[in-house]
Amino acid sequence: MNNILMKIQNPLFHITKRASIVWWKAWIIRILAVVAALLVSGIVTLALTGLNPLKVYSTMIEGALGTSRRMWMLLQNMAILLCVALAITPAFKMKFWNLGAEGQVLIGGLATEVCMIFLGPNLPTGLLLLVMVIASVAAGAIWAFIPAFFKARWNTNESLFTLMMNYVAMQIVSFFTLLWSVPKGSGTPRMLEFGQLPVIGGQKYLLNVLIVAVLTIGMFIYLKYSKHGYEISVVGESENTAKYIGINVKKVIMRTMLLSGAICGIAGLLLVAGTDHSLKSDTAGGRGFTAIMVSWLAKFDPIFMVLTSFLIVFMEKGASKISEVYRLNASFSDILTGIIIFFIIGCEFFINYTIKFHSKSEEVRK
């Protein structure tokens, strides 16, 4: 018989999932991604504005960290964003897509505001603060519990449900903002004098930062070392496995969402009583959604979330400094932020997968 030579066309490369990756390799990939992001943003900067990219980057650093006030502001913003990210993490870890953090924060804030307006003049400060904490935590928890209950009971879609609850919360807050606005009818929220969180150590935001630091450590321990944390992981991996080993899935869903909403309520408290001393429908400022990025980028690890929330807030502060110094429209700094975050998210692909290149074709003897 003649030997037949056959040519088999192979694809140029193929992608396989990595079984594991050494930690330092992962970090080299991440650092390369940042370098690549800076290079691309540099080219875009030069092409669009003609500005020196290095100057633009140093402006960003200066805008985020340039003065002690800016550093405190950065810490404060980080604290709030991290707080919301901590809140959604247990829910996301059990694959319950809580997209309703924005609304849960607002409702927590509204509960705080109600206490500050109506109980403020009548209660001693210590008691008032205690009532505010209880009210905001309870309000956030209830707001999150509603979709969880429907999910557990009737298997409703939690993404849609929690998302809708945001709009309900926003409308409720808008209604009360207008009702209580000063001057009358202006739609401008009233300033809340009573029940502002105390200033400690002469630093306005220190208390907020400390509270969130404690929450971060608490959440880390809760997820990693507690029985609840274990149950959340199992439910997230496979509901059937969870059922098989005797975990009450419905109970875990409802319990976890109560926790998620409660922490969102605390974020509302920190925003209303700790920094703004007023409440509007945009007080949460989209953090309910940005927090998802913070949490996911950190792979739901609360300690890593400190880093990712720093990254996001740093970019935000730096970007607004760029538009201030160069009088550029905010869209330009959004482009830069977009490029950098794209690379950082994109590099996770190369950490999880490996690409194998082939020679164009190989000869196979049959």
């Binding site: 960290l65 009358k184 009818g185 401008t188 001393h277 007023s278 429209n329």
Partner: protein, 399 residues
């Protein structure tokens, strides 16, 4: 390493600025001015302020390093932080453009007594009595009145052309909130229209937002289907003008000309020009003179301006009529809120106690009718006319 050096340098720079800040005298060279804007130039409201700030900068010959713009600053703690950051950068005068910035500007004013804080559209400077916190507005009701005359003349022209009868001359108005600034605006506009078209009536639809393009468009469309023959608005998007252009209904605009987008229906627009105030306040800091708690100027000083009349849409003789009334307003022989020209609940007014001093209980506190007219923007710069006069129907109330 480089980053650390940058950081250290930045901190050193700020500290040296802070050191400079203690010297109260401001010379031409180290004068720094800060501006805080709610949005950026994509909002017609903020664009109007930003254009004025740039004009003032040019007139005063200040460099870009001396004038710092902070855009997209929300009405919250961020506003206070933005103001404090501007102080850190060496600004000795700081302006903010949005109503909701006021409490945060006030907070900053209390903390930095050596810096002047000027807040446009606010209401509390005259009661707070801080030497470095000031409010400003313009007597925009005069501009609205003149724009109203253009509207009334257009109605007359359409009546004469036989398009509808005199008693069908209904105006539609899209308002943001049922708030004094808006009420004062649509009432002066209506009084202007009625001064030339006596049978005119008006319907007002509120949106409950200062900026919501879809809602404003929807409100205008609703008014048009209600039989309104002409539309005007006090809200900051292109919603209402666009609805008018689509329906072929004449529109009297606000904040600036919308002629480009609405060439067939745009008649005229009134707006506040903030340049005179910015110039005045910056010069005051330069010269070390005092800035009043409330500053409110009008047509005479160029704080209230009307755009060019669009001849294609306006009635004949509009410009002449506007010029004539403007001269009378300037001379003080004509008053917008002349009590002889309107009634409330069927009766003419000879006394009204308005809520001029802002408080959470909305207590009326000041007599504002004297010498036969309502004294708008005289007791404080921001409008406080909140009467519901006969001839205007509110379709909904945002309160």
């Amino acid at each position: 390493m480089k980053k650390i050096i940058t950081l250290i340098l930045a901190v050193a720079m700020v500290l040296s600025f802070a050191a400079c800040g203690n010297n109260t005298t401001v010379s031409e060279g180290n004068l720094k001015v800060g501006f805080i804007f709610l949005h950026d130039e994509n909002s017609t409201y903020d664009k109007n302020f930003m254009d004025s700030a740039k004009a003032a900068q040019e007139k005063l010959g200040l460099t870009d390093d001396q004038v710092i713009f902070k855009t997209n600053i929300p009405e919250g703690n961020e506003c206070y932080e933005a103001a404090a950051d501007l102080v850190d950068q060496g600004c000795t005068i700081i302006f903010a453009d949005s109503f909701g910035h006021e409490p945060y500007m006030l907070k900053a004013a209390k903390e930095f007594p050596n810096v002047q804080f000027c807040h446009s559209t606010g209401t509390t400077a005259h009661t707070e009595k801080l030497p470095n916190f000031h409010n400003a507005f313009a007597s925009i009701y005069e501009g609205r009145f003149l724009a109203g005359i253009a509207a009334g003349l257009k109605l007359n022209e359409m009546i004469e052309a036989g398009k509808f009868t005199a008693d069908e001359a209904k105006i539609g108005y899209v308002g943001a909130y049922t708030y004094a600034e808006v009420i004062s605006g649509y009432t002066s506009f209506f009084l202007g229209a009625r001064s030339v078209c006596p049978t005119a009536t008006m319907e007002v639809q509120f949106t409950g937002s200062w900026y919501d393009e879809a809602l404003e468009k929807e409100a205008a469309t609703k008014l048009i289907s209600n039989g309104c023959k002409l539309i005007s608005q006090h809200a900051d998007s292109m919603g209402a003008p666009t609805a008018c252009e689509n329906a072929g209904i004449p529109n009297v605009s606000y904040n600036g000309s919308t002629e480009k987008a609405c060439p067939n229906t745009f008649i005229v627009s009134s707006r506040i020009d903030w340049t005179p105030y910015y110039e005045f306040a910056i010069n005051a800091v330069k010269d070390g003179t005092e800035i009043p708690a409330d500053w409110c100027k009008g047509l005479e000083e160029g704080s209230v301006v009307l755009t060019a009349v669009n001849e294609k849409a306006a009635a004949k003789g509009t410009q002449e009529a506007i010029d004539k009334a403007a001269a009378e307003l300037k001379a003080g022989t004509l008053h917008v809120f002349d009590t002889a020209t309107f009634t409330v609940g069927g009766a003419a007014l000879d006394s009204y106690i308005a809520d001029v001093d802002t408080d959470a209980a909305y207590t009326p506190d000041t007599e504002v009718i004297k010498d036969g007219y309502f004294h708008e923007s005289e007791m404080r710069s921001a409008p406080y006319f909140d009467l519901k006069i006969d001839g205007i129907t509110l379709l909904n109330e945002m309160m």
